[in-house]
Symmetry: C2
Subunit: 263 residues, 2 copies
């Protein structure tokens, strides 16, 4: 039996799960658009992007599973943990919303993820460094694709502009979490394995501000709420929304019903 | 305004839609597994396969749209027609069922589709011939992937074998439709554009029988029901199940609500 509740995690393991869970949860959210996008071409583009994220998640779960043994595999890590064991950002588990919200979230996270993977290329964990190097061209493409859409929609019709403003208002309270280091992030940073996300904030802010200016969208990026300030949620500590519980219920049905089975 | 009910269709146009609708509907059904597959790896494999099918659908819709003009695009064809205008096989619109049914349908259709595209490489419609040539390596891979799974599951555990038998019983009544030529198929065959599907039956039967033997699955392929015999449904004539109506409702929400809009 795979224990549903894992014992307290070692920092490096928790960090790998954090990175993997981010990719899995966002990939899953985006995959909900499969066959529901506004245009066949864009639907296919977003699905391809989901596949990149799921591919990144797989490599990270495999790497994490190698470290713990005891029958752990990418699939037990992806499918057999409870919400409280997930370490993803709250930002990424929020419902997909409309096309504008999906795109905007993808953009804001891609800018962050790109900086994070660039830093992780220098990790003393050489396997993690290799995963980061492989992810960079993918995330570079995601960032460009999402950025083009943000500008197109923000600076588009009155309807699209209003929707983008509303998406930004929905996401803004969850941006502080990107840059608030969890204990495990501090530990892996000290050990040269990971990167303290607070060090990425100024570059991220610069890039995002430029994009939002082009998109004619205004937002205050100078004072971002830290997780505990506003919602009591903190994804990195496993304190998640009901939205994640529902997402996992849907995603895990098969594995939970027939663990280890192909059904 | 795009007319919801198109006027009686020219045979070549109807044939292109038939091919495109097959790919779109099966691609959409498979994409429902996005994030719900039994293993991350297989989930990704099936999603990739859906993307191939959606890509084929796009090329075929584009080609069909070029022929009719009047504001038709790949997206109006994919998203703004009613169920009665769809020309896909009933086999492909049946609900995805369990993993076994999804795999088995994919296999049975891939064997057919491969033979069909091989024949269409010789089409006098050079654009269709080029689309077929591009699709062949994709479908070859789909066939191999699905075939491996059919054998693995059919010749697997007692549970997996029973499920595969049940999937076969569900699909069998809809196989005759593959080989019953509609009027438009007869016309395009006479004109050298298309292929009469009844000519593909013996080769398909040979290949499928060999696979099912390996998978230890028994089925009668010698007397397949023609569409009208058993259900009154006939996908090629636009007589579809409620399942297609629901699939389209889900797929088309966005375009129908905001036609021509990015939402």
């Amino acid at each position: 039996m795979i224990p549903r509740h894992l014992p307290p995690m070692e920092a490096r393991h928790e960090y790998l799960l954090h990175l993997a869970d981010n990719a899995l949860v966002l990939g899953h959210r985006n995959s909900e658009w499969c066959g529901h996008g506004p245009e066949l071409e864009q639907d296919i583009a977003l699905t391809n992007l989901s596949l990149d994220l799921l591919g990144q998640a797989r490599l990270l779960y495999q790497h994490a599973a190698n470290g713990i043994g005891e029958g752990a595999t990418e699939d037990t890590l992806a499918f057999l943990r409870d919400a409280s064991d997930y370490r993803n950002l709250i930002l990424l588990e929020l419902p997909r919303g409309d096309w504008g919200l999906t795109i905007l979230r993808q953009y804001l996270f891609s800018e962050f993820s790109l900086l994070q993977y660039q830093a992780l290329q220098g990790s003393t964990d050489t396997q993690l460094a290799a995963i980061a190097a492989k992810a960079i061209p993918e995330v570079t493409y995601h960032r460009r694709w999402a950025r083009d859409w943000v500008v197109r929609l923000g600076d588009g019709t009155e309807e699209s502009h209003t929707r983008m403003e509303s998406a930004l208002a929905t996401l803004q309270p969850h941006l502080g979490e990107l840059f608030s280091p969890a204990d495990f992030e501090r530990t892996v940073t000290e050990r040269g394995i990971g990167i303290d996300p607070s060090t990425l904030r100024s570059e991220w802010t610069l890039r995002v501000r430029q994009t939002l200016d082009e998109a004619d969208l205004a937002v205050d990026l100078s004072s971002l709420a830290t997780p505990s300030n506003h919602t009591g949620m903190d994804g990195k500590l496993g304190r998640h929304t009901e939205d994640l519980v529902r997402l996992l219920a849907e995603m895990q049905t098969l594995q939970r019903t027939y663990p280890g089975n192909e059904w």
